[in-house]
C-alpha cells in the first residue's frame, strides 16, 4: 500500500465522509418515495432478524449468567445479594443488551452486507443494475436499512429478556436466591426512562450497521482481496461507531431522564 501524504490522507477521509453522508441521505430519502422493494425488505428482515436470533439468544443469556455471578461477589460484601436481579436488569436493559446486540449483529450482518455488495461491485453487478434502470441504493441499501432498524429493536428486547433469565438461573442455582424475588426486584428497578434508553440505542446501532456495511461494500475495489478488506473494515468501523454513539446516547438520555 502506498504511503500517503497527510494532506492526501485527510482529503481521502473527508471524501469518504462526504460519500457516506450522500449514501445515508439517499437511503433515507428513498424510504419516503416510491417504489419500495417490499420483497427485499422482508427477505432482509428474515436474514437479519430471524438469522441473528440464535447468537442473540446465546449472547444475552450467557451475559446475564456471568453478570449475576460477578455482581453477586461484590454485592455479598454489602449484604445485598438480593439486589442481583436489579443490577442485572438495569445493566442488561440500559447497556449490555443494546450494545452487545449491536456488536453481534454488526459482526454478522455488517460483514455480510459488505461482502455481498462488495462482490456485486467487483463483478460489475452494481453497474449492471444501474444499466438496467435500477437504483442500487433504493434496491439494496434502503431495504437493508429498514430491515435492520426494525429487527434490531426486537432483537434487543429478546437479548434483554434472555439476559435477565440467564441472571435468574445463575442466581437461583448458585446463590440460592428466590426466583420470584429476583424477578420482582428486576421488574421494580426498571423505570420508563431506562426502557426508553435501552430501546433508543438499537435504532442508532442499526442505522450504523446498515449504512456502514453497505457503504464499505459499494466502495469495494481490488477484486476478492478488496472484498475481504471491505468486510473487515465494515465490522471494525461499525463496532467502534456503535460504542461511541452508545456513549453519546447514554449521556443524552441521562440528561433527559436524569438517570
Amino acid at each position: 500500500m502506498p504511503l500517503l501524504s497527510p494532506e492526501a490522507y485527510l482529503k481521502q477521509k473527508i471524501l469518504a465522509l462526504q460519500e457516506y453522508s450522500v449514501l445515508c441521505g439517499a437511503a433515507i430519502a428513498d424510504i419516503f418515495t416510491p417504489p419500495l422493494y417490499w420483497s427485499d425488505i422482508f427477505t432482509q428482515m428474515d436474514s437479519i432478524g430471524v438469522g441473528s436470533m440464535p447468537i442473540i439468544v446465546l449472547t444475552g443469556f450467557f451475559t446475564g449468567c456471568v453478570l449475576a455471578l460477578q455482581s453477586a461477589t461484590a454485592l455479598r460484601q454489602f449484604g445485598a445479594v438480593s439486589m442481583t436481579g436489579s443490577l442485572v436488569a438495569l445493566s442488561m436493559v440500559k447497556e449490555l443488551g443494546p450494545v452487545l446486540t449491536g456488536l453481534m449483529v454488526s459482526g454478522r450482518n455488517a460483514a455480510g452486507m459488505a461482502s455481498e455488495l462488495g462482490s456485486m461491485k467487483v463483478t460489475e453487478q452494481l453497474d449492471a443494475m444501474r444499466a438496467l434502470g435500477t437504483d442500487p441504493i433504493r434496491k439494496l441499501v434502503t431495504p437493508r436499512l429498514i430491515a435492520t432498524i426494525f429487527m434490531l429493536f426486537f432483537l434487543t428486547i429478546i437479548a434483554d429478556a434472555f439476559g435477565i433469565a440467564g441472571g435468574a438461573l445463575t442466581s437461583v442455582t448458585t446463590q440460592g436466591l428466590n426466583a420470584s424475588s429476583y424477578l420482582h426486584s428486576s421488574y421494580q428497578s426498571l423505570v420508563y426512562g431506562d426502557v426508553v434508553q435501552g430501546l433508543t440505542k438499537p435504532l442508532f446501532s442499526a442505522f450504523i450497521i446498515a449504512t456502514v456495511g453497505c457503504y464499505c461494500g459499494m466502495k469495494t475495489t481490488g477484486g476478492t482481496q478488496g472484498v475481504g478488506r471491505a468486510t473487515t473494515q465494515a465490522v471494525v468501523v461499525s463496532s467502534v461507531l456503535i460504542i461511541i454513539v452508545d456513549l453519546l446516547v447514554t449521556r443524552a438520555m441521562i440528561g433527559i431522564f436524569g438517570r
Binding site: 463483478t123 460489475e124 449492471a128 438496467l132 434502470g133
Partner: protein, 283 residues
C-alpha cells in the same frame, strides 16, 4: 426478438430526432486520480451503424462505453445519447434513458442469486410487465441466443460462453435502440467467440440496432466487417464481387491508444492506413 426491437425502434425512427446521431461525443476527457484515461474524444454513431472500438488493453475502451451509458461522468466535454445531453442529466432521468440502451458487460455481470429467467426478465420486472408477457419475451430472447434450455439454471451453473449469451439476451429483451458490447468475446475460446460474434451480427442484421462493440481481438472486428447474418444460412461472408465489395458499409472503426483516438473511419480506411502504430497493431 425482431418484433420487439422493431416496435421499440419505430417510435424513434419516425421522430424528427432520427436524423441526429444516436451517440455523439465532443471533446470528452476523464481522469482517474491523476491518470488521464481518455482525452479529447470526439466521434458520433448514426442510427443503425455499428462502431467497433479497437485498441490494446487498458486504453479506456470500457470507460468510454460506461461514459456512453452514463455510468461514469466525464471531467469535461459533452456526450449526447439520442440527442440528449447526459453529462448533466440527473441519475433518475438517466434510469429512464437507459430503458432504450442495452449493455453487455465484459464479465457478463449476471446477478448470481437470480436464475437465468429472472436475470433476463430483470428490466421487464422493474417495468412491471405482466408475468406471462415477461416469460414469453424471456423465452424469445433466450431462443435468439439459442439458450432456452437454460432458463431455470443459475449463472454459476453456466459456462463462460453461456453466461455471455444470457447477458446478450438480457440486453436485447426490451428491444433497445442502442446496444453497448463491452468485450463480448473477452476470455472465451475461439469457437465460443465466433458464436458470440454471430449473435452480435444477428442482432445487427436482423434488428438493425445501433451498436458500439469494444474489442481488442482483430479477428472479431474483421469478422463483423466482412460477414452478414442470413436467417437461412446463418453467418456468411459478404461477396467480394457484390456492391459492397466484401465489406459491411455500416461498420465504422475507432481506434484508441493511451486515451487518444488514433483512427476513426471505415474498414477500408483502416486496412489501408499508413500510420506505423496502426500497421503494427493490425499485423
Amino acid at each position: 426478438m425482431g418484433d420487439a426491437t422493431a416496435s421499440s425502434g419505430a417510435a424513434t425512427v419516425d421522430s424528427p430526432e432520427s436524423a441526429r446521431p444516436v451517440v455523439e461525443f465532443k471533446d470528452v476527457s476523464i481522469t482517474f486520480d491523476v491518470k488521464p484515461v481518455l482525452q479529447n474524444i470526439s466521434f458520433s454513431v448514426d442510427r443503425g451503424q455499428t462502431l467497433i472500438l479497437l485498441g490494446p488493453a487498458g486504453t479506456g475502451k470500457s470507460v468510454l462505453l460506461k461514459l456512453a451509458n452514463g455510468l461514469l461522468k466525464p471531467d469535461s466535454g459533452s456526450i449526447r445519447i439520442f440527442g440528449q445531453e447526459i453529462t448533466t442529466m440527473p441519475e433518475r432521468e438517466l434510469y429512464e434513458l437507459r430503458a432504450q440502451i442495452g449493455m453487455v458487460f465484459q464479465e457478463s455481470a449476471l446477478f448470481d442469486s437470480l436464475t437465468v429467467e429472472d436475470n433476463v426478465a430483470y428490466r421487464l420486472h422493474e417495468e412491471h410487465v405482466p408475468e406471462e408477457e415477461a416469460h414469453a419475451r424471456v423465452v424469445e430472447a433466450l431462443k435468439f441466443v439459442e439458450l432456452e434450455q437454460a432458463i431455470d439454471k443459475f449463472p454459476s451453473e453456466l459456462s463462460g460462453g453461456m453466461r455471455r449469451r444470457v447477458s446478450i439476451a438480457r440486453a436485447i429483451v426490451s428491444g433497445p435502440d442502442l446496444i453497448l458490447y463491452d468485450s463480448p468475446t473477452g476470455g472465451l475460446d475461439p469457437i465460443t467467440s465466433t458464436t458470440i460474434i454471430e449473435l452480435v451480427m444477428k442482432q445487427r442484421d436482423v434488428s438493425h440496432t445501433t451498436s458500439l462493440v469494444v474489442t481488442h481481438r482483430l479477428q472479431d472486428a474483421f469478422m463483423l466487417a466482412t460477414h452478414r447474418y442470413d436467417a437461412q444460412q446463418g453467418m456468411k461472408e459478404i461477396p467480394r464481387d457484390g456492391p459492397e465489395h466484401g465489406i459491411d458499409s455500416g461498420m465504422k472503426f475507432l481506434m484508441l491508444n493511451e486515451g487518444h483516438i488514433v483512427f476513426q473511419g471505415t474498414t477500408e480506411d483502416l486496412v489501408h492506413s499508413d500510420d506505423p502504430w496502426i500497421k503494427e497493431f493490425l499485423a
